[in-house]
């Protein structure tokens, strides 16, 4: 166990082989994997390892594909749905490692439910139970866990990433961890939408990685929205698989064939989105048989909390609904991975889970509902191993005293700080470009141009003037991260002059063969967008 020391400036100072930033499943798996490889590991989370992140409040289905001949066929079928952007090799690796880790959970004694024949059903992980269990495993592995220790920035020695710094928000003290490798497992960016687990999901890792020189990809794929009871945080689509949908005047919402919708998820979200742009929409879960009603209630209890508390019977009464924006959480964008060990291309910096681009796994469509949680299980493992291997190679090198703090926007403004530019207003300004259905679910070149201009001006204010002190730095840094993610997302969406998956350009419907490749973004203030030509070459061969 590393011993905490107080440095002269009264901040907490630790040393580790591997520092993991985040407290969701990918952080937990990265920490366990690195500790198993005998690395000294510190995990620092913005929230509390066990409750924070998108998994803990949810109930996640995994992409659980047992080994065997069928595996290739299952992967191939899923690949067909990814808008040609996913990479079957990564998909196969992922199901393999995720399956092993699901078995590991069962060996460790995680209380999985059983099927009728008595076999354990390992394809589903109930969020609160799973993440509480993972906390125990992380602690058992000897990892030092720092809860409520948001990271603000990465540290570099000029050649490699050598740690991170942040603030212990319940103590009001700065912290710094010197480490031979860092894993970013900081989750996606939900643009401050009030969805499950999203308060802390502000894309901090994207900004930190980009400042260090890493690239991003898939940032245009932020057009995923999920149904929820109006005003609630319950962005879980599953119960709406068995629902009917109605406008204010009671008329049913119809699908592409002219028949009333009886399933509101998947592609049918489009009809609901169109109706929601026109006015309020109501739903009723009236397509669920009584037995299914019972399973839904028992298996997805949080979905029913809003109804029960509002005094509504959702199976027989109409209730108002909304589509919640999900940014990159159920979108696919994130930090670009350059090798099998989840390296970012910046020496010493690794990435896992939603912080990474999931384009290689799920292309232009959402990985919510199965792929993302398996990806967290697998990428966490690889990143933890990759980081510990890198750390071992560096062991013996003394930490250089000359360490550069890489944080810019929201911490060290380029010009004079201005108090009239607040984190809250920055976030609202970004939200008004990247969350409305008529701007981001359905996109047009003209609309994106306007959003792009507004976001440029928000970004300039952030870059030049936004600054916080003490604990406020967490908020200014979150606002800067949200502004950066929104700006990248709109720029990439403008660049992709076609429609593909959740990127729906109403002015350019249909896929263009010229865009059957990923878009990679490099740079923070001045950034460039380039196609990833290796995919084109691969597809051709």
């Amino acid at each position: 166990m590393p011993k905490p020391q107080k440095s002269a400036s009264d901040s907490l100072l630790l040393q580790a082989d591997v520092l993991v930033l985040g407290g969701g499943p990918s952080a937990a798996w990265a920490a366990v994997a690195a500790a198993e490889a005998s690395a000294k590991v510190v995990l620092a989370d913005k929230g509390y390892l066990g409750t924070s992140g998108a998994t803990a409040p949810s109930n996640t289905g995994t992409w659980c594909v047992p080994p065997g001949d069928n595996r290739h066929a299952v992967v191939e079928r899923r690949w067909q749905r990814t808008g040609d952007l996913a990479d079957p090799r990564w998909m196969l690796r992922c199901v393999d490692t995720a399956y092993r880790n699901l078995l590991r959970l069962s060996e460790w004694g995680y209380p999985f439910p059983s099927e009728d024949d008595g076999r354990l059903y390992i394809a589903n992980l109930r969020g609160p139970d799973y993440m509480r269990f993972m906390r125990r495993r992380v602690l058992l592995a000897g990892v030092t866990v720092l809860d409520h220790h948001p990271a603000l920035e990465l540290l570099s020695d000029g050649d490699a990433i050598v740690g991170a710094a942040g603030v212990a928000r319940q103590i009001g003290q700065d912290w710094r961890v010197d480490a031979n490798a860092v894993v970013l497992a900081t989750g996606g960016c939900a643009f401050r939408e009030r969805i499950l687990g999203a308060t802390g999901l502000t894309g901090d890792g994207y900004l930190m990685a980009a400042e260090a020189g890493a690239s991003l990809s898939g940032m245009e794929f932020t057009g995923k929205y999920t149904l929820a009871p109006y005003g609630s945080s319950l962005n879980k689509g599953l119960p709406f698989r068995w629902a009917s949908f109605h406008r204010e005047d009671g008329s049913p919402i119809v699908g592409p064939t002219g028949e009333p919708l009886r399933n509101g998820i998947g592609d049918r979200e489009e009809e609901v989105a169109r109706a929601l742009i026109d006015g309020p929409v109501y739903a009723r879960l009236d397509q669920a048989e009584p037995a299914l009603q019972g399973w839904l209630r028992q298996g997805q209890p949080n979905c029913f909390v809003p109804y029960d508390r509002a005094g509504i019977d959702p199976f027989s009464e109409l209730f108002r609904i909304t589509l919640r924006a999900e940014g990159t959480v159920r979108g696919t964008g994130g930090i670009d991975i350059v090798s099998d060990d989840c390296a970012t291309g910046v020496p010493g910096l690794y990435v896992a889970g939603d912080a990474a681009s999931r384009e290689i796994m799920t292309g232009a469509v959402s990985g919510g509902g199965a792929v993302n949680s398996s990806w967290a299980l697998a990428s966490g493992w690889w990143a933890g191993k990759g980081a510990s291997t890198h750390a071992k190679r560096r062991t013996g090198k003394a930490f250089r005293t000359e360490v550069q703090s890489l944080g810019q926007a929201g911490l060290r403004p380029a010009s004079s700080p201005r108090v009239d530019i607040s984190a809250g207003e920055v976030i609202e300004a970004v939200r008004s470009e990247v969350t409305p259905l008529d701007k981001n679910f359905f996109r047009t070149g003209e609309g994106l141009e306007k959003s792009g201009e507004r976001l440029e001006s928000v970004w300039r204010d952030v870059r030049d003037h936004l600054q916080g002190d003490g604990l406020d730095r967490v908020r200014t840094r979150e606002a800067a991260s949200i502004a950066a993610a929104g700006r990248w997302s709109v720029a990439a969406a403008l660049h992709r002059t076609e429609s593909r998956g959740m990127h729906r350009r109403t002015d350019l419907p249909g896929k263009s063969p010229a865009f059957a490749h990923r878009l990679v973004i490099t740079g923070v203030d001045a950034f460039r967008i380039a196609g990833a030509p290796e995919r084109l070459a691969e597809l051709a061969s």
Binding site: P113, L196, Q298, G299, V305
Partner: protein
């Protein structure tokens, strides 16, 4: 959003202060934690299930407080209702082995 810390139920263990991922509560000298940053609440209901005495109530509306009172929540037996639905008791995990989600997936 989190709306109620019931002073009559709370045993002042400060678990909610520790586990809330959004850092919504502050511990106090006098004992019962206070809701210090309600605006940050992500309506995840997790503090409720970690509380050993079902002393917390999170209302369903995520955009702002509803104004529900302790007496109203009590009369409708809403304290601890999410923990009961999951099978968690007195802040301890339980019930995942009875999760029938696989049946839903088959029906889907």
């Amino acid at each position: 959003m989190i709306e109620i810390v019931s002073a009559t139920r709370c045993v002042e263990c400060d678990i909610c202060v520790k586990v809330c991922p959004a850092n919504v509560f502050d511990a106090t000298e006098s004992g019962v934690p206070v809701i210090a940053r309600q605006e940050d609440c992500q309506t995840c209901f997790l503090c409720e299930i970690y509380c050993p005495t079902d002393a917390l109530y999170v209302a369903e509306f995520a955009e702002g407080p509803t104004g529900i009172t302790e007496a109203q929540a009590d009369a409708r037996q809403l304290f601890g209702s999410y923990a009961r639905a999951l099978g968690w008791k007195r802040g301890k995990a339980g019930g995942s082995e009875f999760d029938p989600t696989h049946r839903i997936r088959v029906a889907q």
